[in-house]
């Protein structure tokens, strides 16, 4: 018996990626995809890659009846008003916005500039990070999937933090493609303006730094730059190794943390063209590649992380969380391995 699923915010970039993945998922029957703007029109109107793969049409969000699983892919600050009304429409709810990621409503207000509208719900959400919270996810009915750059940074830094190998602050330098800002762009997103840009759109205090701190326990200083790419996030995370920690401890920490992980690969090689994580070869795949480099001279470590912001940085990660929650094989719906060259 299949499980029914609905995607709220199905006309957006994350919504489209959810639809793509759920259509290929052996246990899921995707029944509803919402869009107010495109209600009644075929889903492939917004997602031309799905032509020939589905005959679904968009449902107006107001007409949503319910499903076993709800994926919410709506804008932040709007989602916190939506979610309370959605809770009884599905058994499991996965939110991909920023609204239920931060446990502390004060931190939320600091980073999103508005008061949280449903602070009581915050504690009921489990962070959608399989590599850190797999056990809790098996029983979670409300899952909040982290931000794309946050996921890359958390997975890049986690082995160091978990093993207590680093001291103090983590500096995160993030680069992202244009799909990270969603399908509703402003004038700065026009191709002629954005193409080939290196745009430091967040020179400091990017919102995701609060998520990184929450997950790793380390203060975080983060910048974010838009570079030429549609999909793809890369983070460079620097931290000081604590005394006694060196290349061997670092390598061991990564191996231990990720040996059994289906979607994290350690990439830190000495030869070849792709020596460290590069999102170029990850488009469409659910991998997060991570790789540490230790400066033997001065005891700092740089951990590189890369992923596809719409997959492991969003829709794919949500599907992986659901697979864990339902007890399905973790790879279901996530078999695509990425392309090279591309």
């Amino acid at each position: 018996m299949t499980t029914t699923a609905a995607v709220i915010g199905g006309s957006g970039y994350i919504g489209g990626e959810l639809v793509r993945l759920l259509l290929g998922h052996p246990e899921i029957d995707l029944t509803t995809v919402t869009s107010a703007r495109l209600a009644g029109r075929p889903v492939d109107t917004a997602h031309p890659n799905l032509r020939g793969r589905t005959r679904l049409t968009f449902t107006d969000p107001a007409a949503l009846s319910g499903a076993d699983v709800l994926f919410v892919a709506a804008p932040h600050t709007e989602t916190m008003a939506l979610v309370p009304r959605l809770l009884d429409r599905g058994k499991v709810l996965l939110d991909l916005s920023g609204d239920f990621r931060l446990r502390d409503p004060l931190v939320y207000r600091e980073h999103y500039g508005v008061e949280h509208a449903a602070p009581d719900l915050l504690e009921s959400f489990t962070p959608g990070i399989p590599e850190l919270y797999r056990d809790r996810l098996t029983g979670a009915d409300r899952i909040s999937v982290p931000g794309c750059m946050a996921t890359a940074a958390i997975l890049a830094v986690h082995p160091l933090a978990a093993d207590g190998l680093i001291d103090g602050e983590v500096a995160v330098d993030a680069r992202t493609g244009s799909s990270g800002s969603g399908a509703r762009g402003g004038p700065g997103d026009a191709h002629a303006e954005r193409s080939g840009a290196m745009r430091v759109f967040a020179p400091l205090r990017h919102r995701h730094q609060a998520e990184i701190t929450q997950a790793t326990g380390h203060p975080c200083r983060m910048t974010a730059t838009g570079v030429e790419a549609v999909r793809g996030v890369q983070v460079l995370c620097r931290a000081r190794l604590r005394d006694g920690a060196g290349p061997r401890e670092v390598r061991d920490a990564y191996r231990r943390a990720y040996a059994a992980e289906p979607f994290v690969r350690i990439v830190a090689q000495r030869r070849g063209t792709f020596r460290l994580p590069d999102p170029k070869i990850l488009a469409g795949s659910n991998f997060c590649d991570v790789g540490p480099v230790v400066d033997r001279g001065d005891g700092w470590v740089t951990a590189v992380g890369a992923l596809d912001n719409l997959v492991k940085g969003g829709a794919g990660n949500a599907v992986q969380c659901l697979n864990i929650r339902m007890g399905w094989p973790e790879e279901f719906g996530l078999g695509f391995t990425g392309l090279h060259p591309v």
Partner: protein
């Protein structure tokens, strides 16, 4: 009439008779400055329109 931009500390020149809540643009940092007092001339930074990438 002039005052100082609270963002970049460049001198900002207002029209001869500035109006309360009028918006000026700082020539240096291009910040939007709201006139919050006319005598003396005081301006405050209007909120920045941030880009919303990488969520």
């Amino acid at each position: 009439m002039t005052t100082t931009c609270p963002e970049c500390f460049e001198t900002v020149t207002a029209p001869a008779e500035p109006v309360l809540h009028e918006i000026l643009e700082c020539a240096e940092c291009r910040g939007e400055l709201e006139v919050v007092s006319t005598a003396p001339l005081l301006v405050a930074l209007a909120p920045e329109v941030a880009e919303d990438w990488g969520e």
